[in-house]
C-alpha cells in the first residue's frame, strides 16, 4: 500500500469524525424547531407577573414579536385604544349605533 492510499484511508474516517462532532450545533436543532406558544402568554394576567424575574423576562423576549404585532393590530383598528374587533357582530353593532350619536 503506498503513502497516498494510506493517507486517504486515514483522512476519510477523520473527516467523518469531524462531521459527527459538528452534528450537535444549534443550527441542526433548528430544523425541527417548534415555535413558542405565545398565545397562552398573551392570555396571562401580566399585572400579576414579576417583570424582574428572569423567567418572565425570557418569556417576554421569546414572545416579543407576537406581542409587538398584537399591539400594532390594536393601534391600527379604526377605533383603536384596546377595542378588539373580533367578531362581525361587534362591527355591525358599532356601525348601526353611529348615526344616532
Amino acid at each position: 500500500m503506498n503513502n497516498k492510499q494510506l493517507s486517504a484511508l486515514l483522512a476519510i474516517p477523520a473527516l467523518m469524525m469531524a462531521f459527527a462532532v459538528q452534528a450537535h450545533s444549534e443550527k441542526e436543532h433548528m430544523e425541527k424547531a417548534e415555535n413558542p406558544d405565545c398565545a397562552t402568554m398573551n392570555a396571562m394576567d401580566h399585572s400579576k407577573m414579576d417583570m424582574s424575574d428572569p423567567v418572565v423576562m425570557a418569556m417576554m423576549q421569546q414572545c416579543m414579536n407576537t406581542m409587538q404585532q398584537g399591539t400594532a393590530e390594536v393601534e391600527n383598528t379604526p377605533h383603536g385604544h384596546g377595542e378588539h374587533m373580533t367578531g362581525a357582530g361587534k362591527a355591525s353593532d358599532h356601525m348601526q349605533q353611529a348615526p344616532s350619536q
Binding site: 459538528q22 450537535h24 433548528m30 423567567v55 414572545c63
Partner: protein, 190 residues
C-alpha cells in the same frame, strides 16, 4: 513469652492473612469469569452494591468539581433561553419536563435518570450544586447512560444548561414550552 515464639506467631499471622487475601482474590476473579452476576438493567443491584457505587460517584464528583468557577450571570434571561432549548433537545428525553412523569427511558434505564423537573434545590450549598451539575453535564457518568457533552458543546453552552436547571422545577408546562422552543414566533410572517 520468648522472642522466637513471638516471631513464629507473627509469621503464622502473616501466612494466614496472605492466604485469606489470596482466597478472596481468586474467588473474586472466579466470580467475574463465572457469569453468575446478572447484568440486566431490570435486575437491581444489591443494596450494598448500590451504596458502594453511589458513595464512589458522589465523592468522586464532589472532589473533581470543587474548584470549578461558577459564572456570576447564571440568573439571566439569555442563559435561560439558551439552556432551555438545549435541555429540551438533549436532556428532556431522559430527565423529563414539567407535566411529564415517566417515559420508556425513565422506566427502562438503570439507574433510573432523575426527574429534574421535580427535584427542588435544597438551598444548602448553591455553588456546590452548580459545580456538580456543570461537571456531570460536561463529563457524564460512567455506566449510567449519562453521556459527556463536552465534545461538541463548549463551557458557555453547558453553563446555560446549568442556569436552566436552577429554574426548571419552578416552571409550568406553558412556561417550559415558551422558554425551550427554538423557533422564532414571528407572527408577522403568518
Amino acid at each position: 513469652m520468648s522472642i522466637s515464639s513471638n516471631g513464629a506467631c507473627f509469621k503464622r499471622l502473616l501466612v494466614m492473612s496472605g492466604a485469606a487475601i489470596g482466597t478472596v482474590a481468586i474467588g473474586g476473579v472466579a466470580f467475574l469469569y463465572s457469569g453468575l452476576y446478572s447484568m440486566g438493567a431490570d435486575d437491581p443491584h444489591y443494596d450494598v452494591t448500590t451504596w458502594a457505587l453511589e458513595t464512589l460517584r458522589e465523592n468522586s464528583i464532589a472532589r473533581a468539581s470543587q474548584s470549578i468557577e461558577v459564572p456570576s450571570d447564571l440568573n439571566s434571561a439569555e442563559r435561560l433561553l439558551k439552556g432551555g432549548a438545549d435541555y429540551n433537545d438533549m436532556c428532556a428525553g431522559c430527565h423529563l419536563k414539567p407535566g411529564k412523569s415517566e417515559n420508556d427511558f425513565t422506566l427502562g434505564l438503570y439507574p433510573a435518570p432523575p426527574n429534574l423537573a421535580t427535584i427542588h434545590r435544597t438551598g444548602e450549598d448553591e455553588e456546590s450544586e452548580d459545580q456538580r451539575n456543570f461537571w456531570i453535564i460536561k463529563h457524564g457518568i460512567k455506566a449510567s447512560g449519562m453521556p459527556a457533552w463536552a465534545p461538541g458543546h463548549d463551557d458557555t453552552r453547558i453553563w446555560s444548561m446549568v442556569a436552566f436547571l436552577k429554574r426548571l422545577p419552578d416552571l409550568t408546562p406553558t412556561q417550559y414550552q415558551i422558554l425551550t422552543a427554538r423557533g422564532k414566533n414571528d407572527a408577522a410572517h403568518h
